[in-house]
Structures are given as structure tokens and as C-alpha cells.
């Protein structure tokens, strides 16, 4: 043992010379992580550009550039880009960010790698809400409400998504605050709502059944600017709130008791974070339908890329989530063009094997 381990303020002065290598190490690792985030952002912009140009009608790069600089030429192309492709692309990015945040935060709150919007019942609750709106609405009015009443479906999906999480959280609080109870309650409530969806499917007519099936598969057909004007500010505020908890999340991941002794108000933080991610996950699911896997996979890929520090992990998850979902949706549009595949199918179809590949290949064992 060398000198004293505790420091008076004067001690930091004499330490500064020996602190060089450590601060160097720390800074270089921070710079490495920041560069990775910048790289991912550039990649996202490139993919966005490609996604704008490609489709059943191709918009050449020169024309896209002209549009950005204000010298728009072909009115048809301007319309396609501004009113069709761009909202859809932004919607994919927004959903990717929202779902990835939800997954990353839920995994930290529950300290469980399996946590995502599905395991806590958000998705099944939202499905049930949407199904109720589609089936009950359709049978009550005898008309197809999927397009004319997107807001009603979204509202219902949101309410029931929150309700499901509320029940799960309430049950876990009644019993104990253990994360296992929370997860098991999530699975049980999820099953309950899934049964509700099945029942609604069984009793619905053809028209409603088709709408419901399409909604459940998930997609960005419904992407409109008016929806985005509603989602974007909500998401922005939520992300700021979540980022402010980055240090606390790091503490919580190291154990609930340790977090408490580091000055984190664990119960309050858990409630606020859960509320925020439920809000953003259920509102996006409400407009897009069920999109699986992004919430689970994006945080894990990010952990492999950038580590566990939530100050970097959160933004990395946003970028990875946005990239994955935008790539999936672009593939969904292009593969069988002009026929589109629901993006939920694409994410699961490519996401699942890719995730299994990562599980086998990755060097780190997160759960033992």
C-alpha cells in the first residue's frame, strides 16, 4: 500500500502528474466511442439518401441534390420524395429510435437481457387496443376504419399498451419489486392480451380481419407528416429525459442496492423511465403496428459495439435501431417491388437469424 487512499482537495494537485496515463486512456476510449457514433450517423444519412432515391419510381441522385438546394425540377419526383418517401423514412427512423430506447431502458431497469417492449406487455396491450378499435369499429359502422380512423386505432393501442405495463408494474409492486416477478407478470399479461386479440380475430368479419392482420404485421404505410409532427416532439423530449438518467442507469445495472447507496432514488427512477419508454413505445407501435425484434436486438448489437456505459449505449442504440428499421423497410419496399412486404416480417425474418449468429459469435457472456 502506498500513500493514503483518501484525498484532501490539495492531494489532487500532486496526483495530476501520475494521472496522465489514466486520463489518456479514458479520453481515447471516449473519443473512440464518439467517433463510432458519428460513423453510425453518417451511415444512417447515407442509407436515408439511398432510401429516398430507390423505389418503384427511382429518383436520380442529381435530382435529389437539386431538391435539397431548392432547384426542384420534376414535380412528380418532388411529390414522391416529400409526401410519400420522406414521411415513411422518418417514421422508420423514429420507430427505430423509440423501440431501441424502450429495449435498452427496459433491459437496464430489469437488469435482464430479455426485456423489451414485448416482454413487459406493451406490444400485446397495444395489439389488443388496436384490435378492439378495428373490430368493434368495423362491426359497429360496417365500414373500413383502418384508414379513415388511424387516430382512433392509435389512441386505443396507446391506452391499452400503457394499461398492460401498468398492470404488470402493479402486480410486481404488490408482490415484491424483484425483476423476475416483473418479467413473469409481463409474460402473463402479454398472454392475456394475446388471447384477447385471438378472440377478436375469431369473431371479426373479413374486412376487419384483414385490417387487423395487416396492423399486427406492422408497417409504415400510415406514415404521414401530421403523425410525425405529433411523434417527433414527444420523442425528442423523452430522449432528453432518458439521457439525463444515463449515470443512474449505469449504477442500476451494477445492482439495485449499490445504485441506492450511490444516491440514486431507484423506485422513482424506475417509475419515470418505465413511464417514458412505455409512452414512446406504445405511441409509435400505435401508428406502425407490431414491429418485433428491434427493441431487443438494437441494444444488444450496440452493447457489443460500444460497451455498457449508457451515456454512449443509448445514442448508439438509437442509431442502430433507426438503421436496422430503415434498412428493413427499404428492403420491404424493394425486394418484391412494386409489391410491399410488411416490415414486421422483414425485421423478424432477417433479425432472428442475425441475432442468433451474434449470440454464437460474440465473445462476451452477458448472462450466466
Amino acid at each position: 500500500m502506498g500513500s493514503s487512499v483518501r484525498f484532501k482537495d490539495t492531494a489532487s494537485q500532486e496526483l495530476s502528474s501520475t494521472a496522465e496515463p489514466m486520463s489518456h486512456l479514458y479520453r481515447s476510449s471516449s473519443i473512440r466511442k464518439l467517433s463510432l457514433l458519428v460513423l453510425l450517423l453518417v451511415l444512417l444519412l447515407l442509407v436515408t439518401g439511398a432510401a429516398i432515391m430507390k423505389g418503384s419510381a427511382n429518383v436520380p441522385a442529381g435530382e435529389l441534390f437539386a431538391m435539397i438546394t431548392g432547384g426542384a425540377t420534376d414535380e412528380m419526383n418532388v411529390y414522391i420524395v416529400r409526401e410519400v418517401r420522406l414521411p415513411r423514412i422518418v417514421m422508420a427512423v423514429v420507430s427505430g429510435i423509440a423501440l431501441a430506447s424502450a429495449g435498452a431502458i427496459m433491459q437496464a431497469l430489469l437488469r435482464n437481457p430479455l426485456a423489451d417492449p414485448f416482454t413487459l406487455g406493451v406490444s400485446s396491450g397495444a395489439s389488443f387496443g388496436a384490435a378492439l378499435a378495428i373490430v368493434a369499429g368495423a362491426s359497429a359502422f360496417g365500414i373500413n376504419l383502418a384508414h379513415s380512423n388511424q387516430w382512433l386505432i392509435a389512441f386505443n393501442a396507446f391506452v391499452f399498451g400503457c394499461l398492460a405495463v401498468g398492470i404488470v408494474y402493479g402486480v410486481s409492486r404488490m408482490k415484491s419489486s424483484s425483476t423476475t416477478v416483473l418479467l413473469l407478470a409481463g409474460v402473463a399479461i402479454g398472454q392475456l392480451f394475446s388471447a384477447g386479440v385471438s378472440a377478436l380475430k375469431y369473431f371479426s368479419n373479413n374486412e376487419a380481419l384483414k385490417d387487423l392482420t395487416i396492423w399486427l404485421m406492422g408497417g409504415f404505410w400510415g406514415a404521414k407528416w401530421e403523425v410525425l409532427y405529433f411523434l417527433l416532439p414527444l420523442l425528442a423530449v423523452s430522449l432528453v429525459v432518458l439521457m439525463r438518467y444515463a449515470w443512474n442507469l449505469n449504477a442500476l445495472v451494477s445492482g439495485e442496492e449499490v445504485a441506492q447507496t450511490l444516491g440514486v432514488k431507484v423506485k422513482r427512477m424506475r417509475l419515470i423511465c418505465l413511464l417514458v419508454v412505455t409512452l414512446i413505445a406504445s405511441t409509435t407501435i400505435a401508428f406502425t403496428g407490431i414491429i418485433g425484434f428491434i427493441g431487443l436486438v438494437a441494444p444488444h448489437i450496440s452493447r457489443m459495439l460500444i460497451g455498457t456505459d449508457y451515456r454512449y449505449l443509448l445514442p448508439c442504440s438509437w442509431l442502430i435501431g433507426a438503421l436496422l428499421l430503415l434498412l428493413s423497410d427499404t428492403a420491404a419496399r424493394l425486394v418484391l417491388s412494386p409489391i410491399e412486404i410488411p416490415v414486421g416480417i422483414v425485421t423478424s425474418f432477417f433479425g432472428a437469424p442475425f441475432f442468433v449468429y451474434l449470440l454464437i459469435k460474440k465473445s462476451k457472456e452477458y448472462w450466466t
Binding site: Y26, R111, G255, T261, L262, G263, Y366
Partner: protein, 257 residues
């Protein structure tokens, strides 16, 4: 007295786990809590750390009731090292120790914080592991990292729950040497739970022996570790003699079959 515990009682429903505990400890002391399984040792330590709510009685640090201290300020006064740290999503050693600076950090890490982490890592001979992930370390190294994290809080009081139970003999001694040096050189109050009674006798200034949630005996190791106490608390007949380092205790037989 730096730490004062008065009439601490804790329980779930009718099941009392701690009964009317009184403790007073000074800075610079190493105090160990011993007792058979289920005696309430961990509950007592967690009550001291304000992890468990105070139901009855009071805990005060430096003359202040802990209930009147904000949790962020309490984190600058006392640090806690749990028995087992979940690996969950492992951080690197440097990130883990840096977490101990959390009570002082708003967002950015300052040079001062880095200096403290740096010095702790070299003090505990952990430099070469700085960039390693926690799950890649051996139990002994991991325990030292957790102690380093606690010390990064610059606490006046350090609480450790069985810091040596998973370690080999060399690491047990190393950890306890570190702990004793902290108390003697830096004037930190160290409270730890120990199962190994010989180590407890050797490294503690004060021993609190718990039985059924109450303090059965307390005082200097040789006053507490007597054959009579061991019989009543542990139900074991024991031969105890003074040795070069602390006490030599030999368990002869269990008195309950």
C-alpha cells in the same frame, strides 16, 4: 461517536429480524459483525447503509440523523460493497470505479475524478485491468474493484458484506489488509460482516456478535470470542487460545444434533 445506532428494530410483519440494536463506533475503527446464519447481519448492514427503510430506532452519522440527509449527500459519506455484485451487463474496471464518482459528477468526468480513479487503481494494484470487463476478472480482483468503487465515493464510512467469503486465502488477507489500512491511515470507519471468526478476531477492533437479531455480545475480539459465547450463539463447543496473530479457534463439536 461517529456512528450511533439506537434501538434499531426491523421486521417483516410479525417476524422481527433485528431487535433493539444499539451500536456506537468511531472513525478509524474496524468493526466486524459476526453471528450464525439468519442472525440478521446483512439486514443490520443494509439498515446502516439506508438501503432498508428505518422502521424503528435511529441511525446517525456524525451527529446527523440519516433520515435528514439527502441520498446524494449520504453517498458522499458512506459507501457499501454488497456480498455479490450482479454481472448483468458488465462495465469495464475503469467504468466501475468511475461509478463511485457518481455522487460528485453531474454529466462530464473531470480531471479530478480521473485522478482519484487512477490513484485508487494503482493503490489496489488494479492498473493493468483498467480496460478489462468485470466478468473477465477473478473473484479476488473483482472484490478489489468493488472496494475501489466504494472508495471513489471518498466515504467516511465503508460497509462491506462478507468481502472475503468467495476469495482464496491470499486475497482474503489482501482485502483485509487494505481495509485495515484504510481505517488506520485514512481514518475511515469500516464495518464488515465476516464469517471467518479467526480473521474477524485478527483484523477487528470491535466485534458485534448477533444472535436472533439482537446483539448478544460486543467488545474487543478476545472479550467476545469466548467458549461460553460460542456455545450459546453458535451452538458449538470451541477451544479458543491466544495466538501470534489474533486468536486460534478450534471447533470441537456441534452441541445440537
Amino acid at each position: 461517536m461517529f456512528l450511533n445506532i439506537k434501538g434499531l428494530t426491523f421486521g417483516y410483519r410479525s417476524n422481527l429480524i433485528l431487535r433493539d440494536i444499539h451500536m456506537s463506533l468511531n472513525q478509524g475503527e474496524v468493526a466486524s459483525i459476526v453471528g450464525p446464519n439468519g442472525a440478521g447481519k446483512t439486514t443490520l448492514l443494509k439498515s446502516m447503509a439506508s438501503i432498508l427503510p428505518l422502521q424503528k430506532g435511529s441511525v446517525s452519522i456524525a451527529g446527523k440523523d440519516v433520515r435528514s440527509i439527502k441520498s446524494a449527500d449520504l453517498a458522499k459519506m458512506q459507501a457499501y460493497v454488497p456480498q455479490q455484485a450482479p454481472l448483468g451487463f458488465p462495465l469495464t474496471v475503469m467504468e466501475t470505479v468511475m461509478l463511485g464518482r457518481k455522487p460528485y459528477i453531474r454529466w462530464g468526468v473531470r480531471t479530478h475524478d480521473l485522478a482519484i480513479v487512477e490513484s485508487l487503481l494503482s493503490e489496489l494494484h488494479l492498473n493493468q485491468y483498467a480496460e478489462r470487463y468485470m466478468d473477465e476478472l477473478s473473484g479476488g480482483e473483482r472484490q478489489k474493484v468493488l472496494i475501489a468503487r466504494a472508495l471513489a465515493q471518498q466515504p467516511h464510512m465503508l460497509l462491506l458484506d462478507e468481502p472475503t467469503s468467495a476469495l482464496d486465502i491470499r486475497h482474503q488477507l489482501e482485502v483485509l489488509e487494505i481495509v485495515r489500512n484504510l481505517a488506520k491511515r485514512s481514518g475511515i470507519l469500516v464495518v464488515l460482516i465476516l464469517h471467518d471468526l479467526e480473521l474477524a478476531a485478527r483484523y477487528s477492533d470491535v466485534v458485534y456478535m448477533l444472535k436472533d437479531g439482537a446483539v448478544f455480545a460486543s467488545g474487543k475480539p478476545q472479550e467476545v470470542f469466548t467458549a461460553a459465547n460460542m456455545e450459546k450463539v453458535y451452538g458449538v463447543r470451541m477451544e479458543i487460545e491466544a495466538a501470534t496473530y489474533g486468536l486460534k479457534m478450534t471447533a470441537v463439536e456441534s452441541l445440537y444434533r
